[in-house]
C-alpha cells in the first residue's frame, strides 16, 4: 500500500471518529486542508523548496498512528531535559500524557485536544488557529491540518508573565514499531505578556518516527517570547516541522533551533513581522554525522517599517551527512528603515559531507539595511597546530575548536539549565 493510500484511509477513519462533531471550525478546515494535501502531495525534489531534501525514504516504513505507548515513566524521566524545571507537557507518539506531565493547575495555560479547546476557549481557536499557515502551497502543513487532533493550546493573557517556562517534550516510542504523529500547537501571547518555551524531540527505541508538526505562535504588541527547539532524534527518524510566528508592534521574538541528532530533519521557521519596531532573532546549530540530513528553511517577512531581524545559523558536518540552509528575507515596499541581517557558517569535517546554502533576499523598499553571508569551510589547520604546539593533542584540539565554533550560538541561551544540558549533549556528539 502506498503511503498516500494509507493516509487517505487514516483520514477517513478520523472523519468517522469525528462524526457529528464536524460543525466545528477546525473540522471544517480539516476537509479543505485534506483536499489541498491531495492536490499537493508529499513534496518531492522537483519542488524548488525541497530540491536538496528527499522524503522518498518515508516509503520504506510502515508508520502506525500509535496511541497506546509502550514507554515507562522511568524511561521518559531518564532522558535529557526531563529534569528541566517548568511546566512539562509530555506527548508520547503525538498524544498528550497527563500522567507524565506537570499538573496544569495554572489557569493561564491549557493543554487540550482541539474539540475540548473549542469548548473552553473557542474565541482563541476561532481567531488564531491556522491563520498564518499556507495550506495552499505547503503539502505537509495541509496534511498536518487535516490529521492533527492534539497539541498544546497556550494562551498567555495580556500583561502576564508565566513564572515557569513551558517545556513540551515529544517522545517517539519507537522500540517496537514505526510511529507517526501530527501534533499541532498554538500559543497566543497577549499584549505585553511574556513566554519562554522549549520543544524537545526524542526517541525511545530504534524504529522510525515520522513527525509532521506545526507550531503557531502569535506575539501581540509589546509581548516577548523566547522559543527553543531541540532535536535529539534517532537515525531512522523523519521530522518535518513548521514554526509559524506572527509578530505585532514592538514585540520581541527569539528562536534557537538545535539539531543534535535526527535521521532526516526539515525545519521551517517562518516569521511574519506584521508591525513596527519589532525585534526578531533566529539562531540555529546543527551537527549531523553518519547519514544524517538537516535542512533549515527560514523566512522573515518584513511587512512594516522600523523593525529589525537578526539571524545566525551554524553547522558542523561530519561523515556523509548533508546540510541545507535556505534563508529568505522579504522586505516589503512599506517596510522602510528595516534592518535585516543573516549569516550562515559551516565547518565540514569530511570529504563526503556536504552543505547547500542559499540566501534569498527580496527587497522592495529602498531605505533599508540588509546583509547576508554564508561560509562553508574546513577546520582551521593553523589553529589546530597552534593548540598542538602548546601540548594539546590533536583530537582535543579539534574538539576545543568545534566547541568554540558552536559557542556563539550556544552562549546566546539565557536559560542556564537548558544551556548546560544542551552543552553536554553537543560535546558528547562532537566526541563521537
Amino acid at each position: 500500500m502506498s503511503i498516500l493510500t494509507k493516509i487517505e484511509g487514516e483520514f477517513d477513519s478520523l472523519l468517522h471518529y469525528l462524526n457529528g462533531k464536524s460543525g466545528q471550525a477546525y473540522n471544517r478546515l480539516r476537509e479543505q486542508a485534506f483536499e489541498n494535501f491531495k492536490k499537493l502531495g508529499i513534496p518531492t525534489v522537483k519542488n524548488e523548496d525541497w530540491k536538496y531534501s528527499s522524503l522518498k525514504g518515508l516509503e520504506k516504513y510502515d508508520y502506525k498512528l500509535s496511541v497506546a505507548s509502550s514507554v515507562s515513566p522511568e524511561e521518559v524521566k531518564s532522558l535529557p531535559f526531563a529534569e528541566l524545571e517548568g511546566l512539562q507537557l509530555v506527548f508520547v507518539n503525538g498524544s498528550f500524557s497527563a500522567a507524565l506531565s506537570s499538573p496544569l493547575l495554572n489557569e493561564k495555560i491549557k493543554v487540550l485536544d482541539f474539540s475540548e479547546a473549542e469548548k473552553e476557549m473557542p474565541e482563541i481557536l476561532n481567531e488564531y488557529y491556522g491563520k498564518g499557515l499556507d495550506i495552499e502551497r505547503e503539502g505537509l502543513t495541509a496534511l498536518n491540518m487535516a490529521l492533527s487532533r492534539q497539541g498544546a493550546v497556550i494562551h498567555v493573557p495580556a500583561n502576564t508573565t508565566l513564572e515557569k517556562p513551558v517545556i513540551i517534550r515529544h517522545i517517539h516510542a519507537t522500540a517496537e514499531e514505526d510511529v507517526k504523529n501530527s501534533v499541532h500547537h498554538l500559543a497566543v501571547i497577549g499584549k505585553n505578556a511574556e513566554l519562554k518555551i522549549v520543544e524537545v524531540f526524542q526517541n525511545i527505541g530504534g524504529n522510525s518516527s515520522f513527525t509532521n508538526i506545526v507550531t503557531e505562535i502569535f506575539v501581540s504588541e509589546e509581548a516577548r517570547v523566547d522559543y527553543y527547539k531541540i532535536q535529539d532524534e534517532n537515525n531512522s527518524s523523519y521530522h518535518v516541522g513548521t514554526t509559524q510566528v506572527i509578530q505585532k508592534d514592538r514585540s520581541y521574538f527569539y528562536a534557537a533551533t538545535f539539531t543534535v541528532n535526527g535521521g532526516f530533519v526539515r525545519n521551517n521557521l517562518n516569521l511574519v513581522l506584521d508591525g513596527e519596531y519589532i525585534e526578531s532573532h533566529m539562531y540555529g546549530l546543527y551537527i549531523p554525522n553518519g547519514n544524517q540530513h538537516v535542512d533549515n528553511h527560514t523566512l522573515v517577512d518584513h511587512r512594516k517599517p522600523n523593525s529589525e531581524s537578526n539571524e545566525l545559523y551554524k553547522g558542523i558536518l561530519d561523515d556523509r551527512s548533508k546540510g541545507v540552509f535556505n534563508g529568505k528575507i522579504f522586505v516589503r515596499q512599506d517596510a522602510q528603515k528595516t534592518n535585516a541581517y543573516q549569516n550562515c557558517r559551516n565547518v565540514i569535517l569530511s570529504e563526503s559531507a556536504g552543505m547547500n546554502t542559499k540566501p534569498q533576499l527580496e527587497i522592495w523598499a529602498d531605505d533599508v539595511k540588509c546583509s547576508h553571508g554564508t561560509t562553508t569551510g574546513k577546520l582551521d589547520d593553523d589553529a589546530i597546530f597552534y593548540m598542538q604546539s602548546r601540548g594539546i593533542p590533536k583530537p582535543e584540539a579539534i574538539k576545543l575548536q568545534l566547541a568554540a565554533f558552536a559557542e556563539d550560538v550556544v552562549s546566546q541561551i539565557k536559560w542556564d539549565v537548558l544551556r548546560d544540558e544542551l552543552d553536554i549533549l553537543i560535546l558528547k556528539k562532537l566526541q563521537s
Partner: protein, 253 residues
C-alpha cells in the same frame, strides 16, 4: 640539549632547509638571522612539528630523544615552545581555558595530576604579573581582536606558564613598536635561566639589543653560512646581508 644535524626539509617540491647543523646547550641563547626567504621561520616550524613541512633528511635530538618522531603536542610536553610570528586568533576559546587545557595535558603526559581551577588561577596571576599582561586580556577569546603587541605579549605569557626547556621565538619583534618590543624582551629576559635555552629568529638586530644572544648564526639559502657572537649581529646591522650573500654564493659556486 638540542642537536640538529644535517637537517633538510621541503614544502611541496621546494627544498627550503638544505642541511642545518646546530647545537644548543642548556642556558644558551642562539640568534638565527638572515635575509627574507632564507628558511629561518621554516626551521622554527620544523622544530615545533608543523606538518606543512616534510623533513627529507638529517636528525634532531632533543634531550636524548628523536624529536622528529614526536607529534607537535609531544614536543611541547617534552619542553619545546614556539612563539609564533603570527599568533592565531581562536574565537570562542579564552586564553585561560586554552592554557588550562594545555597545561593539564602536559601534566597528564608526565603522569601528574591536573591543576584544579584555584591552583591554576593562582599560577596564572603570578605569571601574568611577571610578564606584565592584563588579567582582562586573558579572559577574552584567544588573541581575538588583540593588537600586534598584545598578541606577542600573550605568546610570552604562554611561555611563562608552560615553562619550556627550549623556547623558539619566531620573529617575535615583527610588527612591534619600540615600547612593545621592550616589554616583550623584558618578559623573555625574566625567563632566562641556566637550564632554559632560547632560539631567537629575527631579521633585525634591534631585538638583540634587548635579548642579548650568546651566539649568532646567519641562515642563507637553507644553510647556516656564518656563525659568531653578538658582534656578528652588529656587523650585519651595519653592512646588511649582501656581503654574506656574496661570500656564501662564491663558496657554493
Amino acid at each position: 640539549m638540542l642537536n640538529i644535524s644535517n637537517l633538510q626539509a621541503r614544502v611541496e617540491s621546494k627544498e627550503i632547509l638544505k642541511g642545518i647543523n646546530l647545537e644548543v646547550k642548556p642556558g644558551e641563547v642562539h640568534a638565527i638571522m638572515g635575509p627574507n626567504g632564507s628558511g629561518k621561520s621554516t626551521l622554527a616550524s620544523v622544530l615545533a612539528g608543523r606538518e606543512t613541512f616534510e623533513v627529507t633528511g638529517g636528525s634532531v635530538e632533543f634531550n636524548g630523544k628523536d624529536l622528529l618522531e614526536l607529534a607537535p603536542e609531544e614536543r611541547a610536553a617534552e619542553g619545546i615552545f614556539l612563539a609564533f610570528q603570527y599568533p592565531i586568533e581562536i574565537p570562542g576559546v579564552t586564553t585561560i581555558n586554552f592554557l588550562k587545557t594545555a597545561l593539564n595535558q602536559i601534566r597528564k603526559y608526565h603522569g601528574q595530576d591536573p591543576l584544579d581551577a584555584a591552583q591554576f588561577l593562582k599560577l596564572m596571576k603570578e605569571k601574568a604579573k611577571t610578564v606584565k599582561i592584563d588579567d582582562q586580556l586573558l579572559r577574552r577569546s584567544l588573541n581575538e581582536g588583540f593588537s600586534g603587541g598584545e598578541k606577542k605579549r600573550n605568546e610570552i605569557f604562554q611561555m611563562a606558564m608552560l615553562e619550556p626547556a627550549l623556547a623558539i621565538l619566531d620573529e617575535t619583534d615583527s610588527g612591534l613598536d619600540i615600547d612593545a618590543l621592550r616589554i616583550v624582551a623584558d618578559g623573555v629576559n625574566q625567563l632566562r635561566s641556566k637550564d632554559r635555552s632560547f632560539i631567537v629568529v629575527t631579521h633585525y638586530q634591534r631585538l638583540l639589543e634587548y635579548i642579548v644572544p650568546d651566539y649568532v648564526h646567519v641562515l642563507y639559502k637553507g644553510r647556516i653560512v656564518k656563525s659568531g657572537t653578538k658582534e656578528l649581529a652588529l656587523e650585519l646591522e651595519e653592512k646588511g646581508y649582501d656581503w654574506i650573500k656574496a661570500e656564501a654564493d662564491s663558496v657554493s659556486a
